[in-house]
């Protein structure tokens, strides 16, 4: 075969292979052809073959790399994709996805390397080597978990301050460190090692319920924590919580070390309670204090509670009732007032120390001011107001008696609680003698009986009016509080709970006093059926002018509503038949008069009004109000009758009503009506009817008032018409 034929054969095979996309074989054929005869076209074909070969190789590399990636061979895949990217020449455009893929695989590879470095570090026993490995891992990117491990290494290596700084720095950036329990423990450990016991224990607090293994370490820390807290005087809430967790954890779950000295833990708990109490008081966080004190309160808590409740009641009226009880009792406590003079007697502290009385009055004024402030803001309920008045009045009465439980009794063992002791001893305890005290205080502390016994024993020593004595005594009896106030609707319940006719006069006084309060309660609610309560209170009302005055006050008070006047008039009418008190009788008539006026305005029929008026007039005929009402009722009656007569055109009767009423207003009304009739009559056409009408008008007007101008006018008109 000659060269030309050979060339043709190479070229034609090359073309065929190129068409079949066998680029390697085609390239070989073109190479042979070029060897025989270099030609530009063949060279171009050879170049195209080479380019296609490169493209195929690149596709193959990508395919391989994908397979490797699937298999998890990240370095192999990365090499494959990188080679594919490198194969991108001037003629092949680099795809963005390939570059992204390479970046992604590189990142995964770095993470993998970091993880393996961390894993390798985790297996390392030497903390300094671990620290170095963690640093390497961290150099590739911040990871809170590795940071915690690094901090743990620092703790292990006693580099506590560095650990604290690391945690603190990370906390400011990630807001969540430490994330693991071990990290939190290590952070606490580092803080404790830096003498920051409270901060350290605060880190451990959330771990305690799951890790009782920490209890012994907490117990070891307590003396140091105590010393640190004492320096600052605050922060006691945390150790209290922690000791509560330890005390509340089932001892089976804890190590023996944690439970070996429960007494010590209890002693610390009580010490922290005491410190926390002081902390709260001086920080002004008073609302948390009641929970720290036992319930029911002890005598020794009274002074603190009085101050506490006064403080709390300034903003919360819910505390006002108890503040009244405690504050009044404490400011009447002589020992408490005397104790103030200890400071005032200090040289240079003060001269002109106030007397007990002046000081007590000023302290009472503080409470008074607080009560008034609540009243101004409409927060003082009637029951609270009654409680305030009653407590204040009763303790003042008791204090005025100048009796004091004998001091020598204070030394007796058992104090208030001792049974079989004399009443004097009962009013004193080892802490404080709270006598006098308010009735509510006496009831709360179970000393009402003892006060009553003392009052009985000393009764002959007092220069007291019988009613005042009974009022004082009954105030300290059970149910005594109801003498001042009964919640609306509870009258029947309280009345039923009262003893029947009592044996002793004090209990009988209480019974009648509460019956009276029940009656007042019913009246204030505008309800009828108060008579049975007042019936029970009649003996007391006959003797006690103050109680009668209470009813009288209600009658004349401007704020008393029509409804209350109605109920009150009924009750007072009932009582008036049994009480011989001119002021009360006049007030009763006044009240009936007001009630009748109200009924009249409501359009009640005259018969009923007259019946009520008669009752009022029978009680006190000279009462100005009943007289005014009487005249008003009469006038109303006359108006109605006049109106009726006028409508019936019974002018004669109407005129007689005017004469009998002797009331200028009625007369004026009558003549106004006559004038109108006269005007309409004069406009009429039938002279006979006009004349007849004029005569009728004249006769009626003559009867009513001969000298009235209309009468005279009518007379002249009749003369003009020549009518007799």
């Amino acid at each position: 075969m000659d060269k030309t034929n050979q060339l043709q054969a190479f070229l034609s095979r090359g073309e065929r292979l190129f068409a079949k996309k066998s680029y390697i074989a085609a390239k070989k054929e073109f190479d042979h052809a070029l060897h025989i005869a270099p030609d530009k076209d063949t060279q171009e074909k050879r170049r195209l073959c080479e380019e296609q070969i490169r493209l195929d190789q690149r596709k193959e590399q990508i395919k391989k790399a994908r397979k490797l990636e699937k298999k998890g061979d990240i370095p192999g895949a990365l090499n494959g994709f990188s080679a594919a990217l490198a194969a991108t020449g001037s003629t092949i455009q680099a795809e963005p996805w390939l570059q992204d893929k390479i970046a992604q695989l590189r990142h995964r590879l770095e993470i993998g390397q970091m993880t393996s470095a961390v894993e390798k570090a985790d297996d390392e026993k030497d903390p300094s080597i671990r620290l170095a490995l963690y640093d390497i891992a961290l150099a590739q990117g911040a990871d809170p978990a590795i940071l915690e491990k690094k901090a743990g290494c620092l703790v292990e290596m006693d580099r506590y301050e560095e650990a604290v700084v690391l945690y603190a720095n990370e906390a400011t950036t990630s807001q969540s460190i430490p994330q693991s329990d071990q990290g939190r423990y290590d952070f606490g450990f580092a803080l404790i090692a830096c003498d920051r016991y409270l901060d350290g224990v605060a880190q451990w607090e959330p771990l305690l319920s799951d890790y009782p293994i920490l209890f012994p370490q907490i117990i070891t820390l307590l003396p140091y924590l105590t010393r640190e807290l004492a320096e600052h005087g605050r922060g006691y809430a945390l150790p209290r919580r922690i000791l509560a967790i330890i005390a509340g954890t089932d001892s089976r779950k804890t190590s023996p070390a944690a439970t070996q000295d429960p007494q010590l833990i209890d002693q610390y708990a009580r010490y922290f309670d005491y410190c926390y109490l002081k902390e709260l008081w001086y920080a002004g966080e008073h609302s948390a204090i009641p929970a720290l004190l036992p319930s029911p309160p002890r005598r020794r808590d009274v002074s603190l509670l009085a101050k506490l409740y006064l403080s709390l009641s300034a903003d919360n009226v819910e505390y006002l009732s108890i503040a009244i009880t405690y504050w009044l009792t404490v400011i009447h406590d002589r020992d408490t007032l005397r104790s103030l003079h200890v400071h005032q007697d200090t040289p240079n502290v003060s001269s002109n120390a106030p007397s007990d009385e002046i000081l007590r009055d000023s302290l009472l004024a503080l409470l008074d001011k607080q009560v008034a402030a609540h009243a101004r803001s409409d927060q003082l309920s009637p029951s609270l107001s009654a409680h305030w008045q009653n407590e204040r009045r009763q303790i003042a009465r008791l204090a005025a008696l100048s009796i004091e439980p004998e001091e020598e009794a204070a030394s007796s063992e058992g104090g208030m609680a001792s049974h079989g002791s004399s009443s004097n001893e009962d009013l004193i305890d080892g802490d404080r003698n709270y006598f006098p005290c308010t009735p509510a205080f006496a009831e709360e502390f179970g000393i009402s009986d003892k006060i009553l016994r003392l009052l009985r024993e000393k009764k002959s020593d007092f220069d007291l009016d019988e009613q005042d004595w009974l009022e004082l005594y009954a105030g300290y009896l059970p149910l005594g509080q109801y003498m001042s106030w009964i919640d609306p609707g509870n009258e029947e319940k309280i009345f039923s709970a009262l003893p029947g006719k009592a044996q002793d006069q004090e209990t009988e006084y209480l019974r009648q006093r509460i019956a009276f309060r029940c009656g007042i309660g019913r009246v204030l609610a505008g309800g009828r059926y108060s008579r049975k309560y007042f019936q029970a209170a009649i003996p007391l009302l006959t003797k006690n002018p103050h109680l009668r005055q209470e009813l009288i006050y209600l009658v004349y008070a401007e704020t008393t509503s029509e409804k209350v006047i109605s109920a009150l008039s009924d009750a007072m009418e009932f009582l008036a038949r049994r009480l011989d008190d001119s002021r009360f009788l006049e007030a009763t008539a006044h009240c009936i008069g007001l009630d009748v006026e109200n009924l009249m305005h409501q359009g009640v029929v005259t018969g009923t009004l007259e019946k009520r008026l008669d009752a009022g007039l029978a009680i006190c005929p000279d009462c100005p109000q009943i007289q005014t009402t009487l005249s008003n009722v009469r006038r109303e009656q006359n108006f109605r009758q006049l109106d009726k007569a006028m409508r019936a055109m019974n002018l004669g009767k109407a005129a007689r009503i005017v004469v009998e009423a002797e009331d200028e207003e009625i007369k004026e009304l009558f003549f106004d009506a006559m004038e109108n009739a006269y005007d309409s009559l004069m406009g009429g056409g039938n002279q006979e009817i006009v004349s007849l009408g004029l005569r009728n008008l004249y006769e009626a007007c003559c009867t009513a008032d001969e000298e009235h101008w209309l009468t005279e006018q009518l007379g002249e008109d009749l003369l003009d018409r020549r009518l007799p």
């Binding site: 404790i192 140091y224 105590t226 610390y268 008081w281 007032l337 103030l340 003060s350 002046i358």
Partner: protein, 89 residues
Amino acid sequence: MTDPFIILGVDETATKKEIMLAVADALRDGRHNAKTIAAAQKMLFNPLTRAQAVFRYRVDFGPYAVSAPQVPVDSENRRPQLVRLIISP
């Protein structure tokens, strides 16, 4: 905060001179405004209002006092000797 003793940082036995010094300190510290400090000073200078303040704000915590347990603390090692634990749930 209305407790004049806390505002001025003095106790109930403070003399007038001590109160004056405390007023100067309180004004310098700036924890309270001048009006509050002046009111506290006025309250403590008046025997009646001072007695009122003692009665109202001072509490005798003596009856509640509990001593801290007397646990010997190693004087040479000011810090507690704790061993770092590896904790696991």
